[in-house]
Amino acid sequence: MKTITPLLSGRWLLLVCLLLTTSCELFEYHPYDTDAFDQTGVNQSNIEEIEAQDDLSDTLRFAFMGDTQRFYDETEDFVNDLNNRDDVDFVIHGGDITDFGLSKEYKWIYDIMKNLNVPFVSLIGNHDVIGHGKNVYNEIYGDFNFTFISHRTRFICLNTNALEFNYSTPVPDFDYMLGFVNDSADIDQTIVVMHAAPYDEQFNNNAVLMFNYIVEQYKNVRFCLHAHQHKLNESDFFDNGIMYYGCDDMESRSYLLFTVTPDSYNFTVEYY
């Protein structure tokens, strides 16, 4: 057996001490742990920012994207691209923030998205539910269903990942949805946002007609938005003129840019 000078052993011990004193986040109990996150209530604080914006003009402009999943570099490029423009009020992430529902993934995507110059809100996607992912979503972003108003427009963001919740939680939550039928807020129009569209395998398709029935009751529904399908999509699912627009995933390096005025709306697919 070899003999090494005691000097070296001192160095080894020094290295160990150095490693042990580095930040505690290196000590992971499990990849699905609901870590203590620096940032909590992200949707709520961003909504406050959105609602505090000067929205006196009658033109609403926002970006809709989704399915960031494992496309970290592409998401970073998206943030850089969006920061280069000054005509967008806010960004909506349509869900599937993560690919595996892991805590670290939530953190990685948040660390990229937080660099947006404009506020952003994120919906929960089916991948985000896996393991303890749903608890991590609650911790970082907040409630599964949420709403905000911008430019006299009511945005209703809904959890539609029924397959994932396996009946343990009402998905879609009709009680929540019915709360906006006779909206007491001073609004002109409504936009409904979800991760999985009606008739998707994630959606509770037994409830699809009821879902549509409630959406139809909302004040001046302009259109609905969804992500999840990893391709651009345009559908009038119920032949009632309420269009559903789906965005592509981040891998495609594209997002939808919506411009909504009282008389009309249009959107473009922006590639970066």
Partner: protein, 213 residues
């Protein structure tokens, strides 16, 4: 012909011991020899070491029984049970881990103190709980998710420091070890993303190893 051979084998199995007995009548020493042989064979399965590990994506604390073997005792196999404590956001969980360690070198620093400059290997960890499945539940379409949510494959590298226990009553040796590790899903995430660095995907753990004999 083949049938006959089978029958002969069977007969030999059944009457083998008796035949032997007829050749040499059962002696006390033969019986003892046989007993010793069987016992020593099973004795090899008795765990020879325990570990207590903190963190490492396999629980908060995990305790193990294990074995070391090989010409230079370079192999270790440990079976852990661990736990993740209940917190405000989640239930507590039990975990179990099977770990294989390879230690190529052991350096003597001074009498009774050794360093293992590299310990490396793999471990498979399984977490038990409501939302953790191995096989995709029936409600999903086929191949909806490709990974087993409850099972993680980890790789690690670390070092160990060993003190010989002179007092034989207390056992053979005692070690402190630390490791950095990562798992299959972190590696998949890092591949093709320059945004995700090595620093992002590694975790640190440490523990103690106690060899009884």
């Amino acid at each position: 012909m083949r049938k006959l051979r089978y029958i002969l084998c069977l007969l030999l199995l059944i009457y083998g011991f008796d035949l032997q007995a007829q050749i040499a009548p059962i002696s006390q020493s033969y019986r003892e020899e046989k007993q010793e042989k069987i016992q020593s064979r099973w004795a090899r399965l008795i765990p020879k070491q325990n570990k207590l590990q903190f963190a490492g994506s396999m629980g908060m604390f995990s305790g193990s029984v294990g074995w070391y073997y090989g010409k230079r005792n370079q192999w270790e196999t440990d079976w852990y049970l661990g736990f993740i404590p209940k917190t405000q956001n989640q239930k507590g969980h039990m975990t179990t881990t099977l770990k294989q360690t390879y230690t190529p070198w052991r350096l003597t620093i001074k009498d009774g103190f050794f360093i293992e400059p590299l310990t490396t290997g793999i471990y498979i960890n399984k977490i038990f709980g409501e939302y953790f499945w191995t096989k995709l539940p029936d409600r999903y379409p086929e191949n909806y998710y490709f990974w087993a949510v409850d099972t993680r494959f980890n790789i690690f590298a670390g070092q160990a420091f060993t003190w010989q226990l002179n007092d034989s009553h207390r056992g053979k040796e005692f070690s402190f070890f630390y490791e950095i590790s990562t798992n299959d899903l972190y590696l998949i995430s890092a591949v093709g993303n320059k945004t995700i660095t090595l620093r992002d995907i590694i975790g640190l753990s440490f523990g103690f190893r106690y060899r009884v004999f």
